[in-house]
């Protein structure tokens, strides 16, 4: 690893100014009561003392993006004949996500296995991923909704980040994680970390100690599959849910989308937009049939996808980064940790498994 660097608090704005040359720098900033990632410009003070309300997911996976433009073009010689031209969007501009947390950066690793696999490469995602760097802030302390340590991460996890910054007295210690990060740390504003590095290590260790005991999710893939037909369990788990979908939109690892066309006259765009499996329309078929007709079915899919299907497909990796936003921002406090834990604790016996669909615990 490259030598650790130190950034004085007083130089933060100047460094952001350097980083913003030739790239869009997204920093967490206040927007009403929320903290959201928006482009930095002179005078913006990033909010670094708390986790942002939303994840920086849209930096790589925009809430809405043009897949291509289409135009219907009439042949002037033969007005009945119309051809269609498709035009792909421009290459994405370089970007930097500054001040996200380790859970935010880790979220993209969960995307990567789906959007950039040897079998399937999503060119829009891959281009943005390549164009985006992450300077991540280690969490000095945990919230009561945090459970990163239960899904294989931690408050100073470097996975998915290009550089990690740790708050210390008078500024930040910066460590490069990737070659991209090494480039970012070449600024003359940064000095050698010296003895600040030891301080940073202490901050990281204290953060780990501040975490509450981790829920044990071992065995969640099998436990959730075993509960699949137990609709009593899922109706109980989803009783409070109001199907608003906030959990999916705020989640750094939720990656489902819809594709829709928008047409105006002879031109239009095909859009990809975030969609969410908590909505009835998500799986509604043209025939009127819906394989997930109730919120219980839909919550089962959301929890099942993260803690069962995805891990079964991707060698045990849980599709959750433990950021806790789905708990913190849920209007009715549905807690995914509780649901998974209940499923594991309620693991059915062999006789119970043999019971018909709808059997209760």
């Amino acid at each position: 690893m490259a030598q650790a660097k130190f950034l004085k608090e007083a130089d933060l704005a100047a460094w952001l100014g350097e980083l913003a040359k030739g790239r869009k720098v997204l920093v967490p900033q206040k927007d009403g009561d929320a903290v959201v990632f928006k482009p930095w410009h002179e005078g913006v003070k990033p909010v670094l003392d708390r986790q942002a309300t939303e994840s920086p997911k849209k930096a790589v996976f925009p809430a809405s993006e043009k897949l291509f433009r289409f135009s219907y073009i009439k042949d002037p010689e033969n007005p009945g004949k119309v051809r269609v031209e498709l035009e792909e969007p421009e290459k994405p501009e370089p970007a930097l996500v500054f001040g996200g947390r380790p859970c935010d950066a880790r979220g993209f690793l969960i995307f990567d296995r789906v959007y950039d696999s040897p079998k399937t490469r999503d060119s829009y995602y891959v281009a943005r991923r390549e164009a985006t760097a992450f300077v991540t802030l280690a969490c000095p302390e945990a919230s009561n909704t945090c459970f990163c340590h239960a899904v294989g991460s931690g408050p100073a996890d470097t996975a998915g980040s290009d550089a990690l910054m740790t708050p210390v007295e008078g500024g930040y210690v910066l460590e490069a994680i990737s070659p991209k990060g090494e480039e970012l740390l070449k600024s003359p504003l940064l000095s050698d970390a010296g003895d600040k590095l030891a301080q940073a290590e202490r901050v990281k260790a204290q953060a780990v100690e501040s975490l509450p005991p981790a829920p044990d999710f071992a065995g969640s893939p099998e436990a959730l599959m075993a509960r699949f037909d137990d609709m009593g369990f899922w109706e109980n788990a989803s009783a409070k849910c109001i199907s608003c979908g906030a959990c999916t939109y705020l989640c750094p690892t939720c990656y489902c989308f819809s594709i829709t066309d928008e047409e105006s006259g002879m031109k239009g765009v095909r859009m990809r937009s975030w969609d969410n499996c908590m909505s009835y329309q998500f799986t509604l078929e043209a025939s009127g049939h819906n394989p997930r007709p109730t919120k219980a079915h839909r919550l089962k899919n959301r929890v099942g996808h993260k803690f069962s299907y995805y891990p079964l497909i991707h060698k045990g990796a849980i599709a959750c980064c433990g950021c806790g936003r789905c708990i913190k921002s849920c209007p009715v406090s549905v807690d995914i940790r509780e649901i998974v834990t209940m499923a594991i604790e309620a693991a059915p016996t062999a006789e119970e498994s043999a019971q018909p669909q709808g059997a209760k615990q």
């Binding site: 897949l67 291509f68 289409f70 219907y72 009945g80 004949k81 119309v82 051809r83 269609v84 498709l86 792909e88 969007p89 290459k91 789906v114 959007y115 079998k119 399937t120 490469r121 999503d122 060119s123 829009y124 891959v126 281009a127 390549e130 599959m225 699949f228 037909d229 990656y255 489902c256 989308f257 819809s258 594709i259 829709t260 066309d261 047409e263 239009g268 095909r270 990809r272 969609d275 499996c277 998500f282 799986t283 509604l284 078929e285 043209a286 025939s287 049939h289 394989p291 997930r292 079915h297 899919n301 099942g304 996808h305 069962s308 299907y309 079964l312 497909i313 669909q357």
Partner: protein
Amino acid sequence: MTEMPNLYLPEMATIIETVQETPTIKTFRLVLNNEQRMKDFHFEPGQVGQLSVFGTGEATFVINSPPTRKEYLQFSVMRAGEVTARLHSLNSGDQVGVRAPLGNWFPYEDMKGKDIVFIGGGIGMAPLRTLMLFMLDNRADYGNITLLYGARSPVDMAFQYELPEWLGREDLKTTLTIDNPAQGWEHRVGLIPNVLLEMEPSAKNSVAITCGPPIMIKFTLQALKKLGYKDEQIITTLEKRMKCGVGICGRCNIGTKYVCVDGPVFSYAQLKELPNEL
């Protein structure tokens, strides 16, 4: 964009012919505008494609022409939603987008040397047509081939222009049925599962391939079980509300399986392994 294929960008194609099969089903024969791509286009029987009508969207349909007949790609579309309604308004010369081939296909290699029983209901005949014509074009590879094709009424029967040929072939045993008697109808009358039970196709060294409305599939499976067919001898195709078609968007999963990439073709043995979410 980076130098990699764009999974979401359709190829442009021209409709060269349409056939109004039934009041609700219209068939589109189309060729890709890029002649070389059309020549090189390779697909397997049972694979699907997404048809685009720009301004309305995309929907998934099986390519129901067989890979052995490459002068055009054929899609039969039942009018059910917005995309299919706009597709139905198109005619020869109109442009559509195509993303294909997508998904898996019928395991026709494993079926070599076996007797084949096709059981199609309504628009469910479309995927069966692909495989059936493919097998007829490779006739020596297969044993007896039987077709049971049913629709509600004579007017609901697609591919009518082909039925005389299918009925007349000596190497294909075709039975047609409708739900209720109709004037001028010379074939069977009765629900598909009942007719199938009367036909009693032997399960020995056989594969049954069925596609149709869910209620028909349900009772057809029961009939096949009565006739002694084992789960692994029964093959069907699934439909879901597919969007991306490449296993990403998250709509068509049943547990760990994505119908758009792990399907649409499944054996009944495989279906039984899936969580109960059809």
